[in-house]
Amino acid sequence: MTGAQIAFFVLAVVAVASALGVILFRNAVYSMLSLILNLLSLAFFFLTLDAMFVATIQVLIYAGAVMILFLFVVTMLSQDTSNTNGPDRLRWQAVAGVGFGVILAGGLIIALLNGSLAHDAHAAGLDTLSNAIAALGGNTQAFGWALFHNFSFPFEITSVLIVVAILGAVVLGRRLTSRN
């Protein structure tokens, strides 16, 4: 077994165990801690794939910013509300979760079998990530090249979506304060 394979299996165990921890812990804070562990192990997966930039962004955005807001809310809850020891009132969630999980797994398998690499990258001889990184002079450069060449339209659309979300948050916040 090569080093990369050993790293994959160790990380896979950590990732699956922490993902199970998210749904099985009774205390919301422990669930959240396992989610953070899960996100960090995903960052390590990106590292083993030579995608250092994506790994860093994964830590910066998800583990560093999003989860801290989760933590902020969860720790403010009192002991009683952050413990979910009572009967499960949302039984249908389990069924829906399994259904969506099967759909997601199917989609991932199809994407994997088809090969998800962009045609442009094939043409430029950049058909593996390591080749692209070597050709473009670094991880950050490779990411920027892909983002602003192949995916510039989705990128712009996403930024519009985020601006709309920010404006929505401002509008909702305003209305609440003026009512008070």
Partner: protein, 429 residues
């Protein structure tokens, strides 16, 4: 030996050296800070243990190691035990990409490259530091939450809100430098400054000031040390920690200060370079250490000088002053880069914003708090009766002439006796 093996051994040696050096510097930073603060307050400071108190950190360390580590009965045991380690782990890892010298600092052999004075020069260096230091808040929040104490929880929540608010400004204020250097690698940024022939402080004066303020808030140092405000929250998230776990938090705070100072020295002040004086082997590390030491002294200076700001002021300053200014700085830098203008336009713009901002702030301060000289009557009125000043009492009594014993010709003893009486009289009603 293969190249990979040499690289691995080199990295291992460097990790051990860096961790050992950081822990030693932390120990002596506590002594230096206490001595410096003492000088600011016209005291002597700890000088009993060894010459100049040099053995004080050793004594403190021994005391901490043998102190009982109390675990509160309401604490969530597991999280309470690992929270301080998270803080130290994060603080130490962030230092990995800080360069103390050039790749060829020790020559050009394989071993010299493997032992280059940084642990790693990665393509995403600055982002790595930002990512790792954004995890620092977990140590504090989990420590506060797991203590099972309301003061601890309040301190932890404050620090979470504070660090999230100021992290954005840090990233945006550094982005201007990154645009000029065209790279995220820490070594690459220093090389970019050598190529330009200037330090980026000249290009980004506004960015540097914004970074300095936001970084002080990020490492929870005075005047932004609200998470451990002792007048309001006992010691914030630190309240329930004792012994070694308490000193782990202290360690994390000081190492974070060193990291933050290193970023400032590397991105804005040319890192290990100093004009043409960086070619001599060994000297670059000296320049680096001198630059970082200056920033560390400024941290202590700020702590000795500025009062802690209020929580609402902190939030308003972060979101309404710091963030818009860093976006403005980013936009101006982007325009300069996009049109290919010379670098000094960005520098002049930054200075102009600083001057205008300073003038506006001064004018508003003067409008809200006009300069007035309080009269002596006002002083008398402002003070509670029990603390009325002796000489004012004596003067007032002498001019009123109510007490016959006091006269201009009275002996010294008489006078002091009468003043004491006057103070007593003042205290009685």
């Amino acid at each position: 030996m293969s190249d990979v093996a040499i690289q691995l051994i080199g990295a291992l040696i460097k990790c051990v050296v860096v961790i050992g050096a950081l822990l030693t510097i932390f120990a002596y930073m506590t002594l230096i800070e206490r001595r410096v603060l003492a000088r600011f307050q016209r005291r002597v400071g700890p000088n009993r243990a060894g010459p100049f108190g040099l053995l004080q950190p050793l004594a403190d360390g021994m005391k901490m190691a043998f102190k009982e580590q109390i675990i509160p009965s309401k604490a969530r045991r597991f999280v309470f035990l690992i929270a301080p380690s998270i803080s130290v782990f994060v603080a130490l890892s962030a230092f990995a990409v800080v360069p103390l010298g050039d790749t060829t600092a020790w020559g050009n052999s394989v071993w010299a490259h493997a032992l280059a004075p940084y642990i790693a020069d990665i393509n995403v260096g600055v982002l790595y530091i930002l990512a790792i230091s954004s995890l620092a808040v977990y140590g504090i929040v989990l420590g506060g939450w797991s203590s099972g104490n309301h003061y601890s929880l309040l301190g932890a929540l404050r620090s979470a809100a504070q660090m999230v608010s100021y992290e954005v400004s840090i990233a945006l204020s550094l982005a201007g430098v990154l645009m000029f250097s065209q790279t995220l690698s820490m070594v690459g940024i220093v090389h970019a400054q050598v190529n330009y022939g200037i330090w980026f402080i000249l290009v980004q004066p506004l960015g540097f000031l914004l970074y300095g303020i936001a970084a002080t808030a990020e490492v929870n140092r005075a005047p932004f040390d609200l998470p451990e405000a002792e007048q309001e929250l006992v010691a914030g998230y630190l309240t329930e920690f004792s012994g070694l776990r308490w000193s782990l938090y202290q360690m994390a705070e000081y190492i974070n200060m060193i990291t933050v100072s290193s970023i400032a020295a590397t991105l804005f002040f040319g890192g290990w370079t100093l004009g043409g004086l960086s070619g001599i082997p060994g000297l670059p590390i000296v320049w680096y250490v001198v630059k970082v030491a200056i920033f560390l002294f400024i941290f202590m200076w700020l702590r000795a000088t500025l009062p802690r700001i209020r929580y609402d002021q902190l939030m308003r300053f972060g979101w309404q002053v710091l963030l818009p200014l860093s976006v403005l700085n980013l936009l101006a830098t982007a325009v300069v880069i996009a049109f290919g203008w010379p670098w000094w336009i960005s520098g002049v713009f930054g200075l102009a914003v600083l001057l205008v901002g300073g003038a506006v702030y001064y004018a508003r301060m003067r409008r809200n708090h006009p300069l007035t000289q309080p009269t002596q009557d006002e002083i008398g009125l402002l003070l509670p009766q029990s603390v009325r000043l002796v000489h004012i009492e004596a003067q007032a009594l002498a001019t009123n002439g109510t007490n016959g014993a006091i006269s201009a010709n009275g002996s010294k003893g008489d006078k002091s006796g009468a003043s004491a009486e006057a103070v007593e009289a003042g205290a009685r009603p």
